[in-house]
């Protein structure tokens, strides 16, 4: 809980060529539930002896691969993130694995110390006023981390007690929340007896026990079956309708599109786009995305593909030829001809209607997952 960290670039940050000047004024606009300014986080790759043979938690940005960084290397997880989230918003952080979503949520929930920049939650600085921040937030982790030594009901009651909720109130609220989450009959069960989806719902109930105004969820539906995922969506929609601010990270387009009022697309620690799902889709480069997987380099037929009537844009990415057209089906025969004339055979064809997915591909050149 040292007070000197905010705004001061930590050791090592200055060595990066694109290191911005530290921004020191805290973000304290009262109408904002969450605000970050020039938020930056650099991790140091664990040394060999601390890595202990397990997989590295951080994959080097850009590669998307799980090749561990050399020991002592610096890994920039966030490179200057600015976000302003109003009270009562349902806000989505969308991006592939390694985009910086978990780091962002980690900083906002006081568990990760920013290397530079500031972040405030409910008007309180996440580093200097961490206790105030913790009092106002509920956190649903990526992987359920219930207190396995306690029963389901005890998990909720003890959590509430940490926040000063009186016992009688906590017991009643615990039962009410378990009922809402559809696990009202599992109160006396041991946590290990719950399924993955039930444990995730227990985590949501726990996060709500002290009635926080702001809820953070880090990829809450990863690993859930479709039925459990839809049940969770209904719960989240209801919580938002009750007036809570929700910040959720996800790498599912459909989830962001369906739940969030505004979505920030982040990749490699940077904000790429920020708008309502409809606004983002309107930014997509128009039309359906047609992808042709070829048997060789796709740059040969690109020029011909651009000349095809109806094709708005065409590009080559490795062995994939990408074209955008208002009506995808109509340009497919012509695109195949282009490929064949360039001496390439077509292995496969994909069609994607205009969506956050096509926007993401046009912004990053890569798919989400």
């Amino acid at each position: 809980m040292t007070s000197s960290r905010t705004g001061a670039p930590a050791r090592g940050a200055g060595r990066l060529p694109d290191s911005p000047a530290p921004v020191t004024d805290p973000v304290t606009r009262p109408d904002l539930a969450i605000a970050t300014r020039a938020l930056r986080k650099v991790y140091r790759a664990p040394s060999r002896k601390r890595r202990g043979g397990g997989p590295s938690r951080f994959s080097p940005l850009g590669t998307g691969a799980a090749t561990p960084a050399p020991p002592g290397a610096e890994i920039a997880a966030l490179v200057g993130l600015d976000l302003e989230i109003g009270s009562g918003e349902f806000f989505g952080l969308l991006g592939p694995n390694g985009a910086g979503k978990t780091t962002t949520i980690g900083i906002l929930t006081t568990r990760v110390r920013p290397t530079a920049g500031t972040a405030a939650v409910a008007g309180a600085d996440v580093v200097r006023q961490a206790v105030d921040v913790k009092r106002r937030i509920g956190v649903v982790p990526q992987r359920p981390n219930p207190d396995r030594a306690l029963t389901v009901h005890e998990n909720l009651v003890f959590h509430a007690a940490y926040f000063g909720v009186p016992g009688a109130v906590a017991r009643a609220r615990a039962q009410q929340l378990l009922d809402q989450m559809g696990i009202g009959d599992r109160g006396e069960a041991k946590v290990d007896q719950l399924s993955g989806g039930q444990q995730q719902r227990l985590m949501i109930a726990r996060a709500l026990m002290h009635e926080p105004g702001i809820l953070f969820l880090d990829e809450p539906t990863v690993g859930l079956d479709p039925q459990a995922r839809h049940a969770l969506w209904d719960i989240l929609t209801r919580l938002h309708d009750e007036g809570r601010t929700i910040l959720m990270s996800t790498h599912y387009m459909e989830e962001a599109d369906r739940l969030c009022g505004r979505v920030a697309i982040i990749d490699r620690g940077q904000l790429l786009a920020l708008d309502t799902p409809a606004g983002l889709k309107a930014q997509a480069p128009g039309g359906t995305l047609v992808e042709l997987d070829l048997d060789g380099d796709a740059s040969a037929p690109v020029a011909a593909a651009r000349a095809v009537p109806g094709v708005l844009k065409a590009e080559a990415l490795g062995q994939t030829l990408r074209a955008y057209a208002p009506r995808g089906g109509e340009v497919i025969p012509a695109l195949i001809r282009c490929a064949e004339q360039a001496g390439r055979a077509v292995h496969d064809i994909h069609l994607s209607p205009p969506s956050l997915e096509t926007l993401f591909i046009s912004l990053t050149g890569r798919k989400l997952d």
């Binding site: 006081t110 568990r111 009092r135 981390n145 030594a149 007690a161 009635e211």
Partner: protein, 266 residues
């Protein structure tokens, strides 16, 4: 939000109490396993060295007087250290359970301090549990004096806190995979060279070792309990014991809190 803001925030002391309640609640449920795990080994030692060997005539009956304080020391060292180090390794290494408590609205040191106090209480409990059983197994112990209960309790409480602070450090500094290494490289030598099985003055025969063992907190617990329980045997003076234990406990707390914070925040 307004209803939330008007509510008086839970004080750190109150949250500390709740965290302690949680640990004691869990400890009570697991008490039999806990006691077996932490006191069986010292008690087996009591059976062999405190009963069998004297009966066989390999060691003198008077040895039990030197042994009893050491056995108490080992029991509390073992239990306090394990009560903190093992959950820390599991929580930070795999289950991540402690994240719930790290999000409680208190400064991080409150959570670490609570772990140390709860570990100390469990060590105290183990020592209180072992004392009558050891006495029962060994039979009458020459020179056993129960006239200094305050000294006994003070040394046990301070020693238990020291070992649980050491547990905080080891549990957060050592990776879960190296847990076996912790027992063989740190705990075992600490017990063998902790003056638990022989008085410190006995090391006059090996002067180098006599001063090297002074970094070992178990030496002070064993010697302090000797001073309080079997004062006719050679022992360190109690003020020196208390001072050394206080210094070591403080040092373990400082480094333990540092490694705890390193694991708590990235």
């Amino acid at each position: 939000m307004s209803a939330l803001d008007s509510r008086s925030p839970a004080s750190s002391t109150r949250v500390f109490g709740i965290l302690l309640l949680r640990d004691l609640h869990v400890a009570r449920r697991e008490l039999p396993y806990f006691l077996v795990r932490t006191t069986l080994q010292p008690l087996l030692f009591v059976i062999v060295f405190g009963t069998l060997l004297p009966k066989m005539g390999f060691v003198s009956r008077g040895y039990t007087a030197a042994l009893l304080p050491g056995i108490l020391g080992i029991s509390l060292a073992f239990s306090s250290l394990q009560a903190v180090a093992l959950p820390m390794m599991a929580d930070f290494g795999f289950t991540k359970e402690i994240e719930d408590r790290l999000l409680a609205p208190v400064p991080d040191y409150v959570i670490a301090l609570e772990k140390v106090i709860s570990g100390g209480l469990q060590g105290l409990l183990a020592a209180i549990f072992v004392l009558p059983i050891a006495r029962l197994i060994m039979g009458p112990i020459p020179g056993l004096a129960l006239g200094h209960p305050i000294e006994v309790v003070t040394i046990i409480a301070l020693g238990a806190t020291g070992f649980s602070a050491l547990g905080l450090f080891l549990g957060t500094a050592i990776q879960g995979q190296q847990i076996g290494l912790m027992f063989s490289v740190i705990v075992a030598p600490m017990i063998m060279f902790g003056c638990a099985y022989y008085p410190w003055s006995g090391l006059n025969a090996v002067p180098l070792l006599k001063y090297a063992v002074l970094v070992n907190p178990l030496v002070y617990v064993s010697e302090g309990l000797r001073a309080a329980l079997t004062p006719t045997l050679p022992h360190m003076p109690v003020p020196a014991v208390l001072l050394a234990l206080a210094v070591l406990t403080g040092a373990f707390w400082v480094v333990g809190l540092k490694t705890f914070r390193k694991r708590s925040f990235s």
